[in-house]
Amino acid sequence: MNEKMNCNRALGIDIGSTTAKIVFTVDDKILYERYERHFSEALGKTLEMLASIKELLQEAPFTMAISGSAGLGVSEASGLPFVQEVYATGQFIQRDIPDASVVIELGGEDAKVLFFKGGTDARMNGTCAGGTGAFIDQMASLLDMSITEMDAASLEATRLYPIASRCGVFAKTDVQALFNQGATKNDVAASIYQAVVSQTITGLAQGRSIEGKVVFLGGPLYYCEGLRRSFRETLELTEETGYLPDCARFSVARGAAIYSAANEPISYQEMTDKLVRGSQNKTETRAHIATLFKSDEEYELFRDRHAQHTVKSIPIEEYEGRAWLGIDSGSTTTKLVLISEDKELLYSYYNVNKGSPMQIVHEQLKQLRRLCADRIEICGAATTGYGEALIQNAFHADMGLVETIAHFTAARHFEPEVDFILDIGGQDIKCFYIKNGAIDSIMLNEACSSGCGSFLETFAHSMGYEVDEFAKLGIKSRSPVDLGSRCTVFMNSSIKQAQKDGARIEDISAGLSISVVKNAIYKVIRAASPDDLGEHIVVQGGTLLNDAVLRAFEQEMGRDVVRPVIAGLMGAFGAAIYAQEHCDESSLLSLEELENFTHKSRTGSCKLCSNNCNLTINTFADGGRFISGNQCQRPLGIKVEKKLPNLYEWKREYFKNMKGKPGPRGKIGIPMSLAIYEQAPLWLELFTQLGYEVVFSELSTRQTYERGQFSIPSDTICYPAKIMHGHVDELLDQGIELIFYPSLTYNINEKAGDNHYNCPIVAYYGETINGNMDSLADINFFYPYLNINSERALSRTLHRHMKEIDPTISRFEMRKAVHAGFKAFEKYKDEVRQAGQAALDYAEEHDHRVLVLAGRPYHVDPEICHGIDRLATSLGFVVVSEDSVCDLATNIKTRVLNQWTYHARLYRAALFAAEHENVELVQLFSFGCGVDAITSDEVRSILENRGKLYTQIKIDDISNLGAVRIRLRSLIGALEAKDGDSN
């Protein structure tokens, strides 16, 4: 035995967020390694794994070290040595794969990129970029597949869909929308992997190129061939340069073993003693929050109270007569309800989609038709939910209605005086205030906090529970964990923390329920007290069927609420009632037609305009077709009688037609992004006068974003800023050697507020571009600090800067050019106002509603607003922009500091909308726009204080119009109800 001086036996333990790994080596040779999921019993699993090699370990003392995110807590509690996991990986790589230049390591909830050549550096995912292994797990369960099945499916893919890559919640929204459109699982699986790849590259590489020998580590990369393939294809790597070592899963544990060599040897007994003792006298560090139920009796009382809100049901076999059907095809679940003349429940169905809502509805309808036979006549069928249009078209349902109206209809049935409805579904939180029998204002969760309901479910599955079981555990919890109230991706990390602190599964379950509720109350409703909500609150949606969630809501609000027994079926129930109110005869497919029903979906892209939307074309047995994915009505073959005025479209045309002309001084490139979306006429004229040929980049497409994504340094910045990288890259590609983007602390002073700043991003993004785009080194990227409020100041400063580029430019020339530039700028702004006026006149004349789509000038970019303006015109709105109408309103005193030029326009546009009949306002809010966190409340109060509805749409790189459609249609629904009232 030679363990004394130079111990050759080493143990590495890596306890991650979802798995535990141990490696035991003697003389650096691996004698044992093991990898297992620990289902949040981190320490127990580790001890069990260690016990299985007890004999081996007992032979002699060994050195050891613990690593991993959950390992940190174990190490602290036991006093055993710890090594940071990235550091451990570094140790392993440097010894075993010294020629590696980059390591990509994906773990349960961590993603890391380590650079070894050219300045070592390590990047870990930030607070926002969520988990990757956990994300893949989540997606797999959404697809109802095991990881292996999903991987196999991805290899069969024929096309990729764009899926938001920023965080799991967004991606999930996209995936669900794809399913509802009928995309195949194979393609979705591959698209998910591609999203992980983009996320890793944008989020972590942040401008450093990944090249040379790239090593893949961690469980997900080890198990998923499709994921490796995506990485290799994207990074242009071969099998050699995109290398997967045999021990990819054990790299951290191996590194820990290597690192441990410097530690004192320890015996098996001593180690396990420490581990066990550590787990016992662990101090409670985690935050406690109130328990849901203090005793079982309390729970019984609670259950009895809620059992009162019931609906009478009649066995379908015993009923004879007329009936109405409601189908709610939600994002994760499908619900069907058949009601009698007296609104009794004849039949209901509630189940998870498992990725194919069409098939489920088909099966259900067949069964229903059989059950009804000749006794029951279905007199009307209405569809609602995400899949509303598809289902309506496929099965010839009589009508489709927006889900908010469906829910309101149902809630009114249970509580005629209802004044507030909260619905927490699979991935949406919806809530609406009811005033005077109509929906008064609607709040939907922003893309960032969605997924709450399905998060509970996915999490339950990942812990090896069914969601019901998991929720029941929460009821028993006597010390719930505080998991915060931000988005669910953050909760993953909080859970990690709780696990580290040794939280029990029931406490996590209760904590999750409380978090879901807090999300709804503080993020979506933004209520401060129960009085903010209303007297008669009805809650519904599948997630609120869960007693723990319901209880958390009542506790948080401090009042009892009504939860109908059929809380999960409310959408379908409402649709059925709606059908009853509106239909006497139904065109729903008969049993025979249903027997012969087939459904095929294929994908293609629309060639009708330059937008090239990805279309999913569903074909049905009767020859019917349903197309989705389109941003406008054209591929549907519907001739829009006359195009309604749309200022967004008008502006895009304006910018598209803006071209420089060849000049003696060469070319100057200007990226069409951020402030340029307004100032283009100014700079075009100015530089043309100076003798430059101005070259603007094209309006953005998805590709514009993708070509620039490698150099974006901050993954939480707004999309309009991110996209600028692509614009500059495009100009570089054209060989332009002088690129201009002005740095403007101050925008134009429109004398409408306390000051006239730009936001920090619009003002200084040139600095970020300059610092992060390598390719600019060889050209002149020109981003001078300018004052555009005075011709004199501008010509003086710009002249000073331009002299360095071309000394022949005279002061006189510059003055003339600046003067001409400003004239062109004024002219443009006049034209915008005139176009706005013309649109308003048109609306007046033809009796159309006007929609002020209020954002910032750059929101007209097709890739930034994703066709929301076209959607609005297709729904019958005349669309105007905020800057085209804001001068029609007076200045307004705001309660916030009104100091940004663009945002001051929002307030005036809101006032304009508030003061005019038939004019509505929808605020566009770029994700990550900090300034809008301040403006949105103010715009809301300007509108609501004057009796108008406020609607906000958060936009990012996702282009799913489904949610936007719901909002706009709900808005229309609410307006119609209001009109009906006043008539």
């Binding site: 940190l72 940071q84 926002c128 109230s485 923390q497 101050y746 920090p760 309660r895 809008d932 301040i934």
Partner: protein, 418 residues
């Protein structure tokens, strides 16, 4: 729904000065304690809020838009927590909020605070906005030049103590010695600054020397500690509540911490007045005032440096004139929202003085930091290959484990290079 009122704000009147308690949010413990002690010698009743706990964040989230900056959520949460605690009579309490103004959304904190107060039923509580571009009138809170200079003194001494404590703590043999000495001096200084109107650092160099000597005399062990600099958004950079006790964490890991002082930020604000003239042609009295302030503040910092160098046991910071020039070639001095170019300069200043390990902290989604913090890391790393920067985001939902993991990674690299 709350309705808009025409009343823009509640004034802090002269009568209120008598018996109102003015609550002060805690950003920099030493500095703000000194400021309170100093102001109280003029008959105010200022109290520094040193509370923490999850209720603060919870209240903040409840009454402030959740996408607002984390510092606003925390400070407003802390105020509301205090008002609701029963410890103060809300009808005899005023709040004070320091802000700099400018194009960052931070200049809206006061509005957010007032909205939150109104929503929580404390609409009557006066909020004193303390800023350099002050537009509001508070008859009960008017500062004379003498008082302003006294406040500046408090900042200077605060910075001095900050430097001394940070450079002593990791090495002290008797744990807690540096903190205890700091506490002692805060009490002594607070009274002295108020009582002795002549106590501007120039006149009281001896006092400063005494402080430095006192700290030098604390018994220290000799060891080679990892040196870590903290830069970033001003609130999370300094406030333990904002950064989960970052300094303590780093100290526990055996690191010595350096954070550029508050004086630098004030000087930066003054310098921006000069930039406005040079870049945008905004001259006049504002420019003149900025120039004088800039000159004066720079001199104060040089005094501080001289005193530290004279004694010799501690590392002194760089003169501000040097800091101003460091960002040349990285970012323009025109970037003046939030911490602006100063943030970039501070990273370079740290690197320049041999502190290669840097934590850049920011609230999640901090707008200016996209440009001057995260946006500048790449060029900084490229031109200073030995620099070891980690960016850490703070927000109500961020998990401490994640933050600590990143910090530990930075520390392991730092130890490797030691």
């Amino acid at each position: 729904m709350a309705t808009a009122t025409n009343k823009y704000y509640v004034q802090f009147t002269e009568d209120m000065k008598e018996d109102y308690t003015i609550l002060v949010p805690n950003m920099l413990p030493a500095h703000f304690k000194l400021i309170c002690n100093f102001m109280n010698t003029y008959g105010y009743h200022m109290e520094l809020l040193e509370t923490d706990g999850p209720e603060i964040t919870e209240l903040g989230l409840r009454y402030v838009h959740n996408d607002a900056c984390y510092p606003a959520i925390l400070v407003i949460g802390q105020f509301l927590d205090a008002l609701m605690s029963g410890k103060y009579d809300p009808h005899k309490t005023a709040l004070i909020y320091f802000q700099t103004g400018g194009g960052c959304r931070a200049s809206n904190y006061i509005s957010l605070l007032r909205k939150a107060l109104e929503k929580a039923g404390f609409g009557y509580v006066p909020v004193i906005s303390f800023s350099f571009s002050d537009l509001e009138e508070h008859p009960g809170f008017k500062l004379s030049i003498k008082q302003l200079l006294g406040l500046l003194d408090a900042v200077l001494y605060g910075d001095l103590l900050w430097i001394l404590v940070n450079q002593t703590k990791p090495y002290e043999i008797n744990t807690g010695a540096a903190d205890a000495l700091e506490e002692e001096w805060i009490t002594r200084l607070g009274e002295r600054i108020g009582a002795d109107s002549k106590l501007i650092l120039r006149h009281s160099k001896n006092l400063a020397r005494e402080i430095i000597r006192d700290f030098a005399a604390i018994p220290k062990e000799k060891r080679n500690a990892v040196k870590v600099g903290i830069v970033g958004e001003i609130y999370v950079k300094y406030a333990p509540l904002g950064n989960n006790n970052l300094v303590d964490f780093l100290n526990k890991e055996g690191a010595e911490v350096t954070t550029p002082g508050l004086l630098d930020f004030l000087t930066y604000c003054a310098y921006n007045g000069i930039v406005d003239k040079n870049f945008y042609g905004r001259g006049g009295i504002y420019y003149l005032g900025s120039k004088i302030a800039y000159w004066y503040l720079c001199r104060k910092k040089r005094d501080l440096i001289t005193l530290l160098e004279e004694e010799g046991s501690f590392d002194a910071p760089c003169p501000f004139e040097h800091v101003v020039a460091l960002n040349d070639g990285y970012i323009s001095n025109g970037v003046k929202m939030g911490e602006g170019w100063l943030l970039t300069s501070e990273m370079l200043e740290l690197a320049d003085s041999g502190i290669k390990n840097i934590v850049c902290v920011q609230p999640f989604g901090c707008l200016p930091n996209h440009v001057c913090g995260k946006g500048m890391m790449r060029p900084i790393k490229e031109r200073n290959p030995d620099i070891n920067i980690v960016a850490v985001d703070y927000d109500p939902g961020a998990s401490k484990v994640n933050q600590e993991n990143r910090l530990k990674l930075m520390l392991s690299t730092a130890r490797d290079r030691l």
